[in-house]
Symmetry: D2
Subunit: 253 residues, 4 copies
C-alpha cells in the first residue's frame, strides 16, 4: 500500500539556525516578547492575541489550576510515589482526570450557549426549551449546580466580572444568564452557575472553540499537578494516601 497522502502542518518548521512557529521567528519575535499565555493564544490562532483574550485566558488558567485533592491530584501523587523516575508520567496520569465528569462539562455548556445564541426564536425561549429538555431526561445541565460550593460557586461571578471589565462583548455571558434563569425556573432546587459554566461563556467570548476547551483545562491542570509533585518531593503524602484508601475501603463480597 502506498502513502495515501502526505501529512501537512502549519504550526512549525525549523532550519539549523532558526525555528518558526506559526510563521514567526521564535527567537526574534516571540521569546522575551510574549507571555506564556499570549504564546498559547498565538500558537492556537496564528495571530497575536488582543488584551481581552490574554486577560480572559489568564483568568481561566489561574482558576482551574488548583482545587485540592481532586482525582487528578491524588492520581499524580500516587503515581509519582510509585514511579519517581518519571515525573512526566505522574503529570500525565493526573491530566487524564480532565474528562467528562468534571472539567469536561465546559464543552457541554459551551454547546448549549452556542445553541442559545444562534436560536432564531430568541435566547430566552431557547434557554427555556433547553431547561425543559434536560429536566425531562433527568440530566444535569452542564455549567450549573455544584456539589460543594453552595449556595454559589464564588469563581463564576468573578470570571464574568473579569471578562466584562476587559471588554468582552457579552453575547455568551448573556446566554449563560438566560440558561441560569430558565434552569432555576424549571428545577425546584437552586442551581448556581459554576466555574465551568462561566469558563465556557468567557472562552466563547474570546473565540476558543468548544472542542478545544478541555485542552485549556489540561494545560492549567498540568501546572497545578507539577506543584503537587514539588510538594510531594519535600513532604510526601502519596504513601499515606495509599494507606488511607487501601485500609479504609471495606471488603464486601
Amino acid at each position: 500500500m502506498k502513502h495515501k497522502s502526505i501529512p501537512t502542518t502549519g504550526i512549525s518548521r525549523y532550519e539549523p539556525d532558526k525555528i518558526f512557529v506559526r510563521g514567526a521567528n521564535l527567537v526574534d519575535e516571540l521569546m522575551g516578547q510574549l507571555s506564556f499565555t499570549e504564546m498559547i493564544l498565538f500558537h492556537l490562532n496564528g495571530k497575536k492575541p488582543t488584551p481581552l483574550q490574554t486577560k480572559v485566558l489568564d483568568a481561566v488558567l489561574v482558576t482551574t489550576m488548583e482545587h485540592g485533592f481532586t482525582p487528578s491530584a491524588i492520581s499524580t501523587r500516587l503515581i509519582f510515589h510509585s514511579a519517581p523516575e518519571a515525573l512526566q508520567a505522574a503529570v500525565a496520569a493526573g491530566i487524564m482526570g480532565a474528562g467528562s465528569t468534571y472539567l469536561g462539562t465546559m464543552e457541554g455548556c459551551a454547546a448549549l450557549l452556542a445553541e442559545i445564541v444562534e436560536a432564531p426564536e430568541g435566547m430566552p425561549a431557547r434557554a427555556e426549551a433547553i431547561a425543559r429538555r434536560f429536566k425531562a431526561s433527568g440530566s444535569f445541565i452542564p455549567g450549573l449546580g455544584h456539589p460543594f460550593h453552595k449556595p454559589d460557586d464564588p469563581r463564576a461571578p468573578k470570571l464574568i466580572e473579569i471578562a466584562e471589565q476587559a471588554g468582552a462583548k457579552g453575547t455568551y455571558i448573556a446566554a449563560l444568564k438566560e440558561l441560569s434563569t430558565a434552569a432555576n425556573k424549571a428545577y425546584p432546587k437552586y442551581l448556581t452557575t459554576n466555574a465551568t459554566g462561566a469558563i465556557a461563556a468567557i472562552l466563547l467570548e474570546i473565540g476558543i472553540e468548544p472542542a478545544i476547551m478541555r485542552g485549556i483545562a489540561v494545560i492549567s491542570r498540568a501546572a497545578g499537578l507539577v506543584g503537587h509533585i514539588a510538594e510531594e518531593i519535600k513532604r510526601p503524602s502519596g504513601r499515606y494516601i495509599y494507606d488511607m484508601v487501601d485500609h479504609g475501603i471495606e471488603y464486601k463480597e
Copy 2:
C-alpha cells in the same frame, strides 16, 4: 493495619464559599490579578514572584512549547486520531515524551552547574574536571551539543540575554559559560550550548530546583500539544503519519 500517618498538604483547602491556594483567597487575591505564569510561581513557592522570576519563566515556557513534529507531537496526533473521545489522553501520551532523552537533560545540566558553583577549588577548575570526566566515560555533557541546530542553537543566547536584562544575578549563567569553555577545550568538535543548558542555568537563577525542572517543560509542552490537537481537528495528519510509518518501515527478520 491502621493508618501509619495522616497525609498533609499546604497547597490548598476550600470552604463552601471560598477556595484558598497557598493561603491566598483564589477569587479575591489571585484571579484577575496574577498571570498564569505568576500563578505557577506562586503555587510552587507560596509567595508572589518577582518580575525577574516571571520574565524568566515566561521565556522558558515560550521556548519549549513547540519544536515541530517531536516524538511528543507525533504521539499526541496518533492517539488523538485513535481516540478522539479523550483529548486529555492524547495530551497525556505526548507529555510522557518529556523524558531523559530530550527535555530531561536540563536536570542533568542543572546538577553540573550547581556542582560548579559550589566547588571550593573555583568554577573553571571544576568545569574542566567535569569535562574530562564526561569525555573519559564517552558520555554527552547535558546542555551542550545539538543534533540539528548547528553550529549554534539560537535559543540559548537569547534565553541568557532575557535573564540578564531582567536582572539575573548571573552565578549559574557564569557556570554554564565555564562548562562550555571547558567542554570545547576537552572535546575535538565544537559543542554549542543548547536550549536545555540555558534553561537549566536561568531556572537556577530564579530558584527552580533541578528535580522539578522537567515539570516546567511538561507544562509548556502540554500547551504546545493542545495546539497540535487544535490543528489536527481542522486538518488531520494523524492517519497519514500512521500510514507513512507503517508503510515506510522495513520488515527485516
Copy 3:
C-alpha cells in the same frame, strides 16, 4: 464535609500471610493452577471459567496483540525512545490508542448484535433496519469493512470457527451473520466482517459485557507493546521514526 459513604470492593483483600482474590486464596487456589487467561476471567466474573470461555478469550487476546506499526506501537516506540527510564509510561502511551477509531468499534458492534438478538420482530428484520439506519446517516457499521484487509479480513472467520468448535451457542454469531447479510444488501460495496466484529460476537457468546470489551483489547495490546519495547531495546527504530515523520511532513501555512 463528611464522607458521603465508605467505598467498598469485592475484588481483593489480604492479611499478613494470605491474599484473597474474589474470595479465593491466591497462593493455594490460583497460582500454578490457573493460566493467565483463566485468571482474567476469574477476576472479572468471580468464578472459574468454562473451557469455552478460556478458548475464546485466548483466541481474542492472541488476535489483537499485534498488527505492525499501529498508532499505538508507534507512540510506544517514540515515548520509549524519549523516556527509556519509564517502560511503563511507554506502554501507557500506546494503550491509549485503543480508542473509538480502531479497537473501540467492538463495543459499537456488540451493541448492534445485542439489539438484533433481542428484537421482537426477529433478527433479519432488525438487521435490515440497522443497515438502513446507518446508510441513511452516512456512517460506517462498526464491525464491517476494513481499509486494508480486502476483500476479506482473514481473522474474522477463524475467530468464529474457534468459538463454534469450542461449543459456543451461536446466538450472537448468527446476529453478526444477519448484520453482514443486511449490510451487503444495503451498501453497494462489499463489506467484509472484520476482526472487531467477530470479536464482538464471540465475546458476547462468553458473557463479556460490551462496556468492558475495550479493556480486553487493552490487555492484549499491552502485551504486544511490551514486545515492541523488547525489540526497541535491541534494535531501536524510535529515533528513525521521529526523523521520518518530522522530515516527511510538509509545512503548508
Copy 4:
C-alpha cells in the same frame, strides 16, 4: 535534513489476506493454537515457548495481577470516575504505577542475581559482598523484605515451587537463596524473600531479560485494572475514594 536511516522491524508485517507475527501466519499458525501466555512468549522470543516457560510466565502473570487498592488501582478508579469515556486512559493511568517503588524492584533484584551467578569467586562470597554493600549504603536490597507480608511473603515460596516442579534448572533460584542467606546474616531484622524477588529469579530461569521484566508486570497489572473498572461500572467506589482522600487529608501550612 535527510532521513538518517530507515527504521526496521522483525515483529510483524501484513498483506491484504495475511498477517505475519514473527514470521508465523497469525490466522493459520497462532490463533486457536497458542494460549495468550504462549503468544506473549512467542512475540518476545520469536519461537514457540517450552512448557516450563509457559508455566512460569502464567504463574507470574497470575501473581502480580491483583493486590487490592494499590496506587495503580486507586488511580485507575479515580480516572475512570473522572473520564468514563476513555477506559483505555484509566488503565494507562494505573499501569504507570508499575514503577521503581513497587513492581520495578524485580529488575534491581534480577541484576543482583545475575551478578551473583556470574561471580568468579562463587555465589556465597558475592552474595555476602552485595549484602554488605547495601547495608553500608543504607539501602534496601530489592527482592527482600515486605512492609505488610510478615514474617513471610507467601507468594515467593509458591512461585519457586512452581518453577522447580516445572523443571527450572535452578541457577537463579539458588542465587536468590544465597542472597537471602547473606542478607539475613548482615541485617539485624529478618528479611523475607518477597514476590518480586522470586519473580526476578524465575523469570531469569526462563530467559526473560531484566530490562523487560517490568513489562511483564505491566501486562499483568493491565488485566487486573480492567477487572477494577468492571467492578467500578457496577459498583462505583471512585467518587467515595476521592471524598475520603480530599476530606481526610489535613491542611497544614
